[in-house]
Subunit: 421 residues, 2 copies
Amino acid sequence: MKAIIIIGDGMGDRQLSELNYLTPLEAAKPKNMDNVALLGVSGLLHAISPGVAPGSDIATLAILGYDPYRVYTGRGGFEAIGAGIELRDEDVAFRCDFATVNEDFIIVDENAGRIREEAVELATQIQDLKLRTASDVEVIFKQTLGFKGVLVLRGERLSPNVSACKPKLGNQADLIKPLDRSLEAKRTADALNEFIKITYNVLKDHPINQKRRLKGKPPANVLIPWGGGKRPSLKPLYERYGVKGACVAAASLIKGICKLACMDIVDVPGATGEVDTNTIAKADAALRALKDHDLVLIHVEGPDEASHDGDIAGKILIIKKIDSMVGTIIKNISLEENYIMLLADHATPVKLKKHTADPTPITIAGSDVVRDEVSRYSERAAYKGGLGHIRGKYIMPILLNLMGRPVEFDIPSNLTGRVRL
Amino acid sequence: MKAIIIIGDGMGDRQLSELNYLTPLEAAKPKNMDNVALLGVSGLLHAISPGVAPGSDIATLAILGYDPYRVYTGRGGFEAIGAGIELRDEDVAFRCDFATVNEDFIIVDENAGRIREEAVELATQIQDLKLRTASDVEVIFKQTLGFKGVLVLRGERLSPNVSACKPKLGNQADLIKPLDRSLEAKRTADALNEFIKITYNVLKDHPINQKRRLKGKPPANVLIPWGGGKRPSLKPLYERYGVKGACVAAASLIKGICKLACMDIVDVPGATGEVDTNTIAKADAALRALKDHDLVLIHVEGPDEASHDGDIAGKILIIKKIDSMVGTIIKNISLEENYIMLLADHATPVKLKKHTADPTPITIAGSDVVRDEVSRYSERAAYKGGLGHIRGKYIMPILLNLMGRPVEFDIPSNLTGRVRL
């Protein structure tokens, strides 16, 4: 038995007056997702615990059975690994986004108007930077998807413990502060503030940005590092659970987690991490990966992006596209031989434009799964689901159990308990 | 107020194509069990936690309110106590099954074709054995039910930390290994391997086995010890909860747990631990025990045995027999004075032939229990139950609460919490 896990990032939401008090999932009428719910058992997922809003890194770790409270070393480490950077133990890594600042370094656009292809050319300008504040530190920047990228500071005496936060409208970009009194944190904060200023000087008058200004688009005139972290370490998924896994994702963050879990990363042309991503290409890639893997995880970033933008129509559109992806998958697999699990890792209500702790619908289908009466995949329909409310950490055990590989009560050598789920 | 707990071992299952996608519980149409569900509140039980597949020992401990992570010392200890052996602190005890091996000690039948009465005579051959590898060790073997028995090694410097696993088709029987570098583990592994070889030499040409061979039945030509453990210790049930308990069970394992909990053990003629067990005799015994006990636990092993054999018809048959037992009980007790709780300790899907972590239906009836709308006792019906998903460790607190003896919030003298549910 094999399994496919489909994660719609931030797909969960609330009922919206604009949608006649339906949620985006309800308004999208995703008939294939509904079909999965009809064929399986549904419930509501709390990636960590009720009331806790996770980042997608935290939620994905939990969903894959890793305890974020034990393995999480900051977002940047996962991003860098996912971007293909061979991270060293001494490195400090950051997510690093193109944004727009004014002359006082106040953020006026959090992602430079969602700059896309032009970011590739701009990124070439940010190579071989030397820092005055930390001349022994190597600066590695890599653009990944559109405005997104990764920054790695390589050298001794560095620390992720600095106030480098996700770009937020109205915040000052170049005021990153150390969060402890160590030399390492002070040095890293200084290096980051200098990095931000250098990128501004390099980018602000670049021809691409001059053209963007002429078109009324915000210039990508700065790079803002955030979510610092050290090199993480995960026990391989096959060692933990005996399953060979593959990952179909655009987002570096998710690729990084899966790469660290020793899952195979399937790159998909046309997977953009945005609403315009090619979900059918992702379905095809997943179906191919399923041939020689036990577990395939498909992650679609789009719903979260639309939600952060407050874009209701965009969220409904990407849900419909995920629904087509689900349709392609269920048309091409047998539920006698495969389980299919559909979930949102967390809610990102479009009205709030940020991650929340609202429970999200989850459904699992397979020929021997005892079906419940839920026939819709939505936040509301899942209230009546047979799974009840479950936590992220139980997802892998539940799925492995269905696959005939239950986690057995563990009796260690000293005959007193060890593993507690 | 008194209570009866009825446990159908491994009674939970999945929907089966052979049963038109019903579960064995649904297909059996157990009208008395359904009546208990109708009269009470239902839910789904995870003996330990979601995704964890327990043995029946682990599950029963949890159901009786004992934390297996604290009290579990291996299966063998409970089996030996249940078989009536006065276990000493230095003893190491094993479940020990008649099986069939070929000349290379490869297991070709895990339970010697479920040998029954003939095992009693064969067991008389396995007495006063002397071991060359551990000449100071006393060897105590006791047959219990059919192919099942108990082996106790009595002596100094012994350890349960050896690789003695449940007999499995195709495995080599006489290759038990120490699981640590201690002298004790090495000595015990050597003793067990020698024991296995001796039993083979004693049993292989016994007239009973010659007759079995002539009839085309697998000879019970070896004894295989597994599930080693030390003497366990449980705080008596009446000290923990103030209730006087009785146990109606065939399986030594369950008897052992209940005996250690200082419950009275009621032996029932005709209780075989198999599908052919006399469930009505068990009902009568339980009704008698109820007269001078507060809590009577009835355990029926049959569904688990049928499930391990992959026997769908057998599983449905024993469910129907348990249903008759339930019918006899509800006809003879008043729900004004008694609560009746019906559950499966875990699922043993007949297709998988092993314990899994699938949640199992539980229902509690009593005249003042707030009824839900569930009117069937099944995995599917329980999805809508008012109890939701509960864990084994909450069963006793829930039952005692109904009985008017709630576990009270415990504030110890140092004003920090102690008992955590």
